[in-house]
């Protein structure tokens, strides 16, 4: 009877593994790289912080933990009595908080047994007690991969840890590990002794041929990981903060950028929208090659650009939100058809925006415009394309007061959350019901893209320029990207941003932390698009910026840039 059950159990496991297509993989390189031991020295104290001699380009990132080791008792020879060495004394832990060129700032974590001194050695993730909490029941293989791949950590027994782990991840009361590796069905999170997030990796299945599946791998399926941009506690400039190329041959103030395979040739093109035209070019490894431009009808003014392949023909269409010369919505769709780019849909009467939805991908959403005083009228809804016409589909549920622009959805711990740019410029995290969970410490966003409302003009009021909220994009890892522009941005009809950066925020379940940003510079960051890495390539960012001009009579210089984020 038991033998029969065991055979049946094994068969079921094989069937499941075949269906899921999971196969065992070695420990991902990113995890090994993130926890590779690196040594350095304490340079000096700086208030409550300590400066260490590891900085940008030396493999460390904000959030890394270092054991501080100082000389302990002298070791004397039992016969000669001579000092033959000193014991190593672990004084405490330091967390890297801000990366600099040649050095970094760090801050003690927990108690420090002895004062940390200049010259003390620091060892990243060396000899730290680590535990795996597996909430999937299938992480034994991963635990073994971690133990063999990261032998410098002091691993607790997997089975024992499983018995003692809390029902939901929380700082341990009875155990005192330094590193928690918490495996859920969606992520592998690594947290420090204070339960601060250090790294997060999404867990995804990788299709494998059925012939490779074995009983062993099926019974203990490994969950391969995709590395992500390392979250950290500070706002440090990290790898990927500088563009890998920069094309500054554009004229005007961009209002948006979209990337996709527009002509179906298997290569990626970029479209850059200005208020009066859409420029299209090819993205190469070393730059942007212009292919041409499509001008809007005379007097029309574009204010947003998005791209999606709604008709699933393998060629991404462009969707331009625009107002015509009389101030009425008149968006267009541009498509590569019969060998050239054409306007295939015109007079679109909605605001349009694509949003990446967890588990669904890129979808086109819309919202109505009401020229009688409601620039964003009614609920946001999905858009379907039939032939060369767009139709309104089902309402897209969003918390109250969230309009089409300036939000993104992301998954966290099994629920969908909303990252939204508030009216006052702060980035907030909301539940689906609108409850605010956290907000950014500083204002972000800010655009110069606008459309004009003239509903009060005929009765003696002033035209009102409605500036769009900046694009907010959630990565597949649940991080949130948003631009941060500063400058002249408070006047109703005159905006010029002169300083910008792109910021990455991480939601750790409690707080919204800025974890990364591009190098701040004197420009206006009009829009950006995240290009997730495929086939092992690194993820990339495409941005469009405009540079300040003191002469309002001349067009500003604009630039399209690409950043390599250093991770797939």
């Amino acid at each position: 009877m038991f033998k029969t059950l065991r055979v049946l159990y094994a068969s079921i496991i094989v069937l499941f593994s075949t269906a899921l297509g999971y196969a065992a993989l070695p420990l991902p390189e990113q995890v090994a790289r993130d926890f590779k031991p690196i040594s350095g020295y304490v340079v000096q104290s700086s208030g409550n912080d300590y400066l260490i001699d590891l900085g940008i380009g030396q493999g460390v990132v904000a959030g890394d933990l270092f054991s501080v080791v100082g000389p302990g008792k002298a070791i004397t020879h039992p016969v000669s009595g001579k000092i033959i060495g000193t014991e190593e004394q672990v004084k405490g832990l330091l967390r890297l908080t801000r990366l600099k060129n040649g050095y970094s700032q760090s801050r003690p974590v927990g108690a420090v047994t002895d004062s940390i001194k200049r010259g003390d050695s620091i060892l990243r993730f060396q000899d730290m007690a680590a535990v795996v909490w597996d909430y999937t029941g299938q992480g034994h293989q991963l635990a073994r991969q971690l133990q063999s791949g990261l032998p410098h950590l002091q691993w607790k027994d997997y089975a024992d840890a499983q018995q003692k782990r809390p029902t939901t991840p929380a700082r341990a009361e009875t155990m005192t590990p330094t590193l928690y590796f918490i495996l859920t069905s969606q992520t592998l999170e690594v947290r420090g002794p204070d339960f601060e997030l250090i790294h997060s990796y999404p867990v995804t299945g990788t299709p494998a041929s059925t012939s490779n599946a074995t009983l062993t791998t099926a019974a203990l399926p490994a969950l391969p990981l995709l590395p992500v941009i390392a979250p950290a506690t500070g706002g440090a400039v990290q790898a990927g903060g500088e563009p890998i190329w920069n094309n500054a041959n554009l004229k005007g103030t961009p209002i948006g950028v979209a990337v996709g395979d527009f002509d179906g040739d298997g290569r990626q093109e970029a479209a850059i929208a200005f208020s009066d035209r859409i420029e299209i070019g090819r993205l190469n490894a070393d730059g942007y090659q212009s292919l041409g431009a499509i001008r809007l009808a005379g007097g029309s003014q574009a204010y947003a650009l998005d791209a999606a392949d709604l008709n699933s023909n393998g060629r991404t269409e462009l969707y331009v939100s625009a107002m015509n010369s009389n101030g009425n919505p008149a968006g267009i769709s541009i498509e590569f058809r019969d060998g050239r780019y054409r306007t295939t849909i015109s007079k679109i009467s909605w605001h349009l925006r694509t949003v990446m939805l967890p588990g669904e991908g890129n979808v086109l959403l819309a919202q109505e415009y009401n020229g009688l005083g409601r620039e964003f009228n009614g609920p946001v809804f999905r858009v379907k394309r039939t032939g060369d016409s767009l139709t309104r589909a089902e309402t897209f549920p969003l918390p109250k007061r969230i309009n089409l622009y300036g939000f993104a959805l992301f998954s966290s711990q099994g629920r969908t959350l909303v990252a939204n740019l508030d009216d006052d410029g702060y980035l907030s995290v909301l539940t689906a019901s609108g409850e605010q969970l956290a907000g950014s410490a500083d204002t972000v966003g800010g655009t110069e893209s606008y459309f004009e409302m003239n509903d009060e003009t005929a009765t003696g009021g002033e035209p009102r320029q409605v500036y769009l909220k900046a694009r907010v994009e959630a990565t597949s890892q649940g991080n949130i990207l948003v631009s941060a522009n500063s400058g002249l941005g408070f006047l109703g009809r005159l905006r010029m941003y002169v300083k910008s950066e792109l910021k990455l925020f991480h939601w750790n379940g409690k707080d919204l932390r800025e974890t990364w940003h591009t190098t701040p510079e004197k420009s206006y960051l009009a829009d950006f698009r995240l290009l997730p890495g495929t086939a092992g390539e690194n993820s990339k960012l495409v941005t469009v910026v405009a540079f300040p001009s003191m002469n309002p009579l001349t067009a500003r210089t604009a630039s399209v840039r690409m950043y390599d984020l250093g991770t797939p």
Binding site: G299, L372, Y426, T459
Partner: protein, 379 residues
């Protein structure tokens, strides 16, 4: 007026100071507009025509600074500006001060704002006059409560008008000094054997609708105002008038981008009494116990050449008739070109022609040819 200005300033300052705490979305804005005009007029003394020609350069009356605030479902506007050059001695003018509550199904506005039947053209002469008094129902701004629904219907309860000569409303004469120049000075508080008593019962009421059908945006409605005037001389009532004002109005915009057509039409009884418009024709007022009947309107064609240049031309006409005397009519026409030098700087060369035709007494009235430029900077 000073009280209004002080109140607006205090509100603006309070809003500004409370920004960090209340996380308000505060947006200041403004516009500076200067007009440079060469005018040539012909006016009459009986049948004798006289002429005058001048150049003027002055700040337009719609130069302003304002602030828009928004917090959740509530928003507000405080706007102050220069008086029209003809009333520059008035100092700074409160242009708008209102709060608005967006309750989902519509909005409620409470404050000081233009009347809903105002619909102006693109004519820039006379401080962006927009055919004011020549086919446009401009009557300034008044305290009001306006409820508008998302389906386009609206109701406005506005401060009542008691004007019978144009300009500001008339008031009961036997009010005490302490009540002068307040909203209460329609209520007598001091005995006088000879007095003029204005009695009002209801706010000036407007119901209307704004809608859209394809390329046509349209609106229309009705307005009503009523008051009594009783003249007493040596304790003897010498005259008693009940002045009923009605107004029916319609306007629309046809979007044929790059062409735009606009029109405004209205008709009514004692429209001058309803609107207290200093620019209105005298023939639009109740006169000698006769109601004045008015109809008028304007039409305009616009064409957008490109992102820099728009062109407009239009004409207007208004007729006022008390059936007792002559028709007081007038007309105007204009053509201009709006050139956007930059996003925030626009110049508008224009040619305008105004002709007051004849008064209600049948006398010939002035006509003006004007050529000039509006210089506008916005922020």
């Amino acid at each position: 007026m000073k009280k209004r200005i002080i109140s607006a300033s205090i509100i603006a300052a309070a809003l500004g100071l409370s920004v960090p705490a209340m996380a308000l979305d505060v947006t200041p804005y403004g516009a500076i507009r200067v007009g440079t005009w060469w005018t040539s007029s012909t006016y009459y003394n009986g049948q004798n025509a006289l002429h005058d020609a001048d150049f003027t350069l002055d700040l337009q009356g719609d130069s302003l600074v304002g602030m828009r605030v928004k917090e959740g479902d509530f928003s507000g506007i405080a706007e102050m500006g220069a008086y029209n050059p003809k009333n520059r001695a008035g100092g700074v003018e409160l242009r708008m001060l209102f709060g608005e509550w967006d309750f989902g199904g519509g909005k409620v506005r409470v404050g000081y704002a233009p009347s809903p039947y105002v619909f102006r053209s693109e004519q820039t002469y006379d401080s962006d006059g927009g055919f004011n008094g020549y086919g446009s129902l401009w009557d300034g701004r008044y305290a009001q409560i306006k409820a508008s629904l998302n389906n386009g219907l609206y109701l406005t309860l506005k401060k009542q008008s008691t004007s019978n000569t144009g300009g500001t409303s008339n008031f009961t004469t036997n009010t005490g000094p302490a009540w002068q120049n307040t909203p209460f000075n329609l209520t007598a508080t001091q005995y006088a054997a000879t007095n003029t008593n204005y009695d009002t019962y209801l706010p000036q009421t407007t119901v209307g609708y704004e809608g859209k059908a394809g390329i046509l945006k349209y609106g229309g409605g009705m307005a009503f105002n009523f008051y009594k005037v009783t003249q007493t001389t040596s304790d003897v009532v010498t005259s008693k008038d009940e002045i009923y004002s009605y107004l029916g109005f319609a306007h629309g915009t046809v979007d044929l981008a790059p062409v735009e057509l606009k029109f405004n039409l209205y008709t009514g009884q004692n429209v001058g009494n309803l609107m207290a418009n200093s620019g209105a024709a005298t023939g639009s007022y109740y006169f000698n116990r006769h109601n004045a009947y008015t109809y008028g309107g304007w039409a305009q064609v616009g064409y957008t050449l490109n992102n820099k240049i728009k062109m407009f031309t239009g004409a207007s006409y208004e007729s006022n008739d008390t059936k007792e005397s002559k028709v007081d009519d007038r007309m105007a026409a204009f053509a201009n070109l709006q050139y956007a030098v930059s996003k925030n700087f626009k110049i508008v060369p224009e040619f305008t022609y105004l002709n007051d035709l004849r008064s209600r007494t049948g006398a010939k009235e002035p006509q003006i040819y004007a050529a000039g430029v509006k210089w506008e900077m916005t922020f």
